[in-house]
Structures are given as C-alpha cells and as structure tokens.
C-alpha cells in the first residue's frame, strides 16, 4: 500500500526518470543497431575478420557493467554520454552476432538461385538476405534492448539519471518503496519493450519462414 502511495506522490519524478531511462537505453541500442547491423553484414564474407569482431564483442560483454561505465567516464565525462557509450558497447555483441548468424544461415542454394536469376548484390541483400534473416536480427535487438534496460539502472551511478536513481537513492535512504518502484518500473519497461519488439518482429517476418529459436 505504501508502494502505491509512493507512486502516487512521486508520479512526476517516476515519469521523468522513466523517460530518461528509455532515452538512455533507446539511444544506446539504436546506435548499436546503426553500427552493429552493417558490421554483421560486412563480416559475413570474411571468416577471419568475423572471428576477430565477434571475439572483441565477446570481450566487451565480459567486462562488468559497472566497470564499463567507469571506464567511459574519463572519455566522456559524467552524465548521459558515458552511459550511452557503455550501453552502446553492451548492445553491440548480440546485434552483430545475430546479424552475422542470420545472414550466414541463409541457404547458399537460395543465394545461388537468386544470382542465377540475375539479381544484383544489392537486390540479393534487400530482397533475399534481410527478409530471410530479419527474425534472427530482431532477436539480437530484443536481447540487446532487454539487457540494455537492465544495465541502464547502473547509469544513475555516473549521474545519467534513469530509474536507477530511485534504486540508489532508496538504498542510501533505506526507502524500500523507492527501491521497489525503481526496480519494478525498470523490469516492466524491459518486458514492455520486449513485447513491442516481438510484435514488430512478427510483422516483419514472412509467414513463409519458420522461426528458428536462437540465443
């Protein structure tokens, strides 16, 4: 009951922090898409390069998130820029990897048939590879988004705001309502984002393609 009262009383603050949270995670993931999807495409035809890139992205993924935020500070100062940078780096791996896997898994026979019919490279990319890989690529974006929304809570520690702020302030004030509000909102946000992206994925994926589960 206290929780409900807390939410009622701090409605504006929660909304503002949620907005910050969404824009931090959103910008991070969008940037990661803008960079990661083209990289995923580029490395498909380069076996060695693809290994290097995926390894680098793997290594980034293993850096504890708190440490990554801290490392970003000397480069970008405090506030949202280092937070967005760290979120961007985190989102990169699932997006590159899934794009790579999605495109790489397109049956070579189909590419061959497409070439044989006289499709240009660009036509093959947009008419064959992307539509066939879209659900796997979207899968990567979903993972990046859900983890990104979770990790964004840490951004508050370097002064970027977001729902994490409620958690840290709550912790220092021993205000459980505050902590729960921050944690629950962030979790709900992740679920909602996943749901919306899931709908989008369904819309983008042709009915002719049976979705394969990927990690």
């Amino acid at each position: 009951m206290d929780l409900i009262n807390y939410v009622k009383d701090n409605y504006d603050l929660i909304l503002k922090l949620t907005g910050q949270h969404i824009s931090l995670a959103g910008i991070g993931v969008l940037l990661a898409c803008a960079v990661g999807i083209p990289i995923g495409f580029l490395i498909v035809n380069h076996k060695k390069l693809s290994k290097v890139v995926v390894n680098i992205a793997n290594i980034i993924q293993t850096i504890p998130s708190l440490a990554l935020f801290a490392f970003a500070m000397p480069l970008f100062g405090i506030g949202s820029p280092p937070a967005i940078f760290a979120l961007f780096l985190y989102a990169l791996l699932p997006i590159i990897k899934n794009t790579f896997i999605g495109i790489n898994n397109v049956d070579p026979a189909i590419i061959e048939a497409a070439r044989g019919m006289g499709m240009s490279k660009t036509q093959i990319m947009f008419k064959v590879e992307v539509p066939m890989a879209i659900s796997v690529i979207m899968g990567g974006i979903r993972i990046a988004t859900v983890t990104g929304i979770g990790i964004t809570t840490i951004a508050a520690m370097i002064g970027a705001g977001g729902l994490g702020q409620l958690i840290y302030q709550g912790l220092s004030m021993m205000n459980y309502e505050m902590i729960f509000t921050g944690a629950i909102s962030s979790a709900l946000l992740a679920l909602l984002a996943d749901f919306i992206l899931g709908m989008l994925e369904m819309k983008l994926t042709s009915k002719g393609i049976v979705k394969e589960e990927t990690i």
């Binding site: 049956d107 026979a109 189909i110 061959e112 048939a113 497409a114 070439r115 044989g116 019919m117 006289g118 499709m119 240009s120 036509q123 008419k127 064959v128 539509p131 066939m132 994926t205 042709s206 009915k207 002719g208 393609i209 049976v210």
Partner: protein, 379 residues
C-alpha cells in the same frame, strides 16, 4: 544456338576442372551433360550464365560473345533450375514465379497473367497455390514451381542442374515426363545436368558424356548406347547394364504387345485360322473379342489343339483357365522366377486396371534382350 569454344576453367594452375571444351547446342534442343561426380558438369553449365567465368575460351549465344553482355541481363534471359530448388522461402509462390519478370520491371498485370498461365501449365491451380509459401508445398510441387519460375520471363535457354535428383523415384519420373511434355510444346534450348545415365537417355536429344573436364562423346542417346566411342563411355552408359541388373527391366518392357483375342464360344477351327493369320502360338480368350474391355477368361496355346478331333469344339472347353497374370511393373527377374517355378510358357501382362496389355513368351524375352545388347562380335 549456344557454342562453347575452347573453354577451360581451372581454380589453380595444376588441374583443369574443365579442359578445352567445345560444345554446340542447337536451338530447341535438350542437351544432357552427364558424367561422374566432379567431372565438371556444373562448372560447364554455370559458365553459360556466367555464374562462373572461364579461365580461357569463349562462349557464344546466337553468335554473341557472352563476355560482352551484362551479367545480370544475361541471367535474366536464361532460366535456371537447381537441385536444391532455391525458391525464396519468404515469398509466396506467385512472387517466386514472378521474380525475374519483376526484376525486369514488366507490367504487373501482365506478370500476374503470366503466373496464372504457368501455374496452369504445371497443373497447380492458381487459386490454391499462388498465395502459398514454398514450405507449404511438397518437394515435387516445389520443383515444378522451380521450373515455372525458370520459364517465367520466357527465356529461350534454360539451364537445369540435377533438378530432379533430390526427389523420390516416382515423383522424379513424373517430372521427367512433364518436362518432355513441356518441351514438345515450348521448344526451349535446354542444358540439363545429371549424373544419372537413365535420366540422360530418357530426356536428351543429345547427350554429352563428360569425364575429367572433357567431353568424351556427344551424340544421340541411341548412338551413345550402340556405338560408345571408348571403353569408358561403354562402361559408363553400361550397354550391358541390363544384363547386370535385370531388375531394371520391367514386365511391360519384355512383353509382346501384339495380343490376339478370341471369343470363348468360337470353334477351334477359328482359333487355328487366327493363329495362322497372325503368326502366333497363343490366343487370349475373352467373352467377346470385339469389345475392348472384355475380361480375359483364359489362354489358348497351340499345344492344346493337338489331338482335338472335332473342329467344332468350343475354345471355352479346351482353354487354360488357371493363368498367372503378371503386373506390368514386375521386374524381369521375378517374372522369370514365376515362370520357372510354375513351368509356364505364356504369361499375360496386365496394367494397373487389370486389362491385358501384352504377353510374355520365351521369344518376347529373347527378342527384347537381343535388341538391348548390341552386336559387338563379328560372327
């Protein structure tokens, strides 16, 4: 006309995958490239639509060197069918068939009409199949769509790389027959790759037997069978393959199609006349000889007539009734076994509906076998 002049392909300096190949394919001709795995069939074919570029030599289509043509334009004017079918899984059948015409920016209405026409041609009704996705079709249907797609832009030339080899034998045979039927109507110039000599013999107007990147013999199926140029070709086409695998010979292939029917109530005098007239020892006895669908009641061999003194005796009274009928697709081996076990001389062959369509006799078997095995020795 397609001509390959001195075409070679090598991936490294040492081995030539295709070695100084010359090949002329006339308009409207179905040419089969056949040979063992790795002999360079696919490579040869793909050089025609420039999926592979030759290391040396030139290829001309209607006198034009294809090097001088735009690759994608060239490919849009050559139908291409591959073993793995390669339909675009995310597109409907309609869109799949329409791929090339749409790439060529043809009028949408015309393209739709064309898809309709092609689906009719391959006997998959538009209303049922056009909006389906490839995975909602059987393998055989998918490959039919593959063929329709290759025809969509109405190319003069079609390349087919083992298009039917992933299908089960029955479907494969169906599609082979359909291809032959289509070819009668459409007269395309078709280059067909297979490693299956039976398929080659069945489909090809001419067959190019390949080995190690060379064409050993380029000739009609009949000449390839009867006059193989060397031991390799002979072994490959296996003129004696029917001896080695008599399983491949079916009852309907060794039967004598000439069957003489006689009504059961006719006198044996008439039977003797019929045998003389048609130079045969055996008659099929039916209720009514003038009716096409009359059921077989028995058979009458010439030996049954011996010792019958009354020429007015009815055929019905002396015919053999417990006759073993042979299904048309039974293999020669089984037929021979049955004949041996039961000591039979005459074996009527029936089609699936049970109608008698021929008769196997010792003579018919020997005739067929001597036809198949060409004379090699001089006597």
């Amino acid at each position: 006309m397609i001509s390959l002049k001195g075409v070679s392909k090598s991936y490294n300096q040492q081995t030539k995958v295709v070695d100084d190949l010359n090949l002329e394919i006339n308009d409207g001709e179905l040419v089969v490239l056949v040979g063992e795995s790795g002999c360079g069939k696919t490579t040869t074919m793909k050089m025609i639509n420039r999926l592979i570029e030759p290391t040396s030599g030139d290829i001309f289509i209607d006198g034009k060197n294809i090097k001088s043509l735009n690759k994608n334009e060239l490919r849009r004017n050559i139908g291409y069918v591959i073993q793995n079918i390669g339909l675009l899984p995310h597109q409907t059948i309609e869109k799949n068939i329409a791929t090339v015409p749409l790439l060529c920016k043809k009028d949408k209405g015309e393209v739709k009409a064309r898809v309709h026409e092609l689906l009719d041609l391959i006997e998959l009704p538009y209303d049922i199949y056009a909006s389906r996705y490839p995975r909602e079709l059987s393998g055989g249907q998918q490959q039919r769509i593959g063929v329709a797609r290759a025809l969509a832009n109405n190319p003069d030339i079609i390349l087919m790389d083992e298009p039917f080899s992933a299908l089960d034998p029955i479907t494969r045979e169906q599609l082979q027959n359909e291809l032959l039927k289509l070819q009668v109507e459409l007269h395309k110039t078709i280059v067909f790759v297979t490693h299956d000599i039976d398929e080659a013999l069945k489909l090809g107007d001419r067959i190019a037997v390949m080995a190690d990147g060379n064409i050993l013999q380029y000739d009609t199926p009949e000449n390839i069978l009867k006059h193989p140029v060397n031991d390799y070709v002979e072994a490959f086409v296996g003129t004696d393959r029917l001896w080695k695998t008599p399983d491949m010979l079916k009852a309907k292939e060794v039967m004598n199609k000439k069957i003489i029917k006689i009504g059961a109530d006719r006198p044996i005098l008439h039977a003797i006349e019929l045998m003389k007239e048609h130079d045969t020892n055996i008659l099929i006895v039916v209720e009514n000889a003038s009716s096409k669908s009359s059921k077989m009641l028995g058979i009458l061999g010439i030996n049954r007539l011996k010792g019958v003194s009354n020429p007015a005796t009815k055929v019905r009274d002396i015919m053999k009734v417990d006759v073993i009928k042979i299904p048309q697709d039974m293999s020669l081996v089984e037929v021979l076994n049955i004949r041996k076990e039961n000591g039979i001389q005459y074996s009527p062959v029936m089609d699936v509906a049970g109608n008698i369509i021929g008769i196997i006799t010792n003579t018919s078997i020997i005739n067929v076998l001597t036809d198949i095995v060409p004379d090699k020795e001089e006597y």
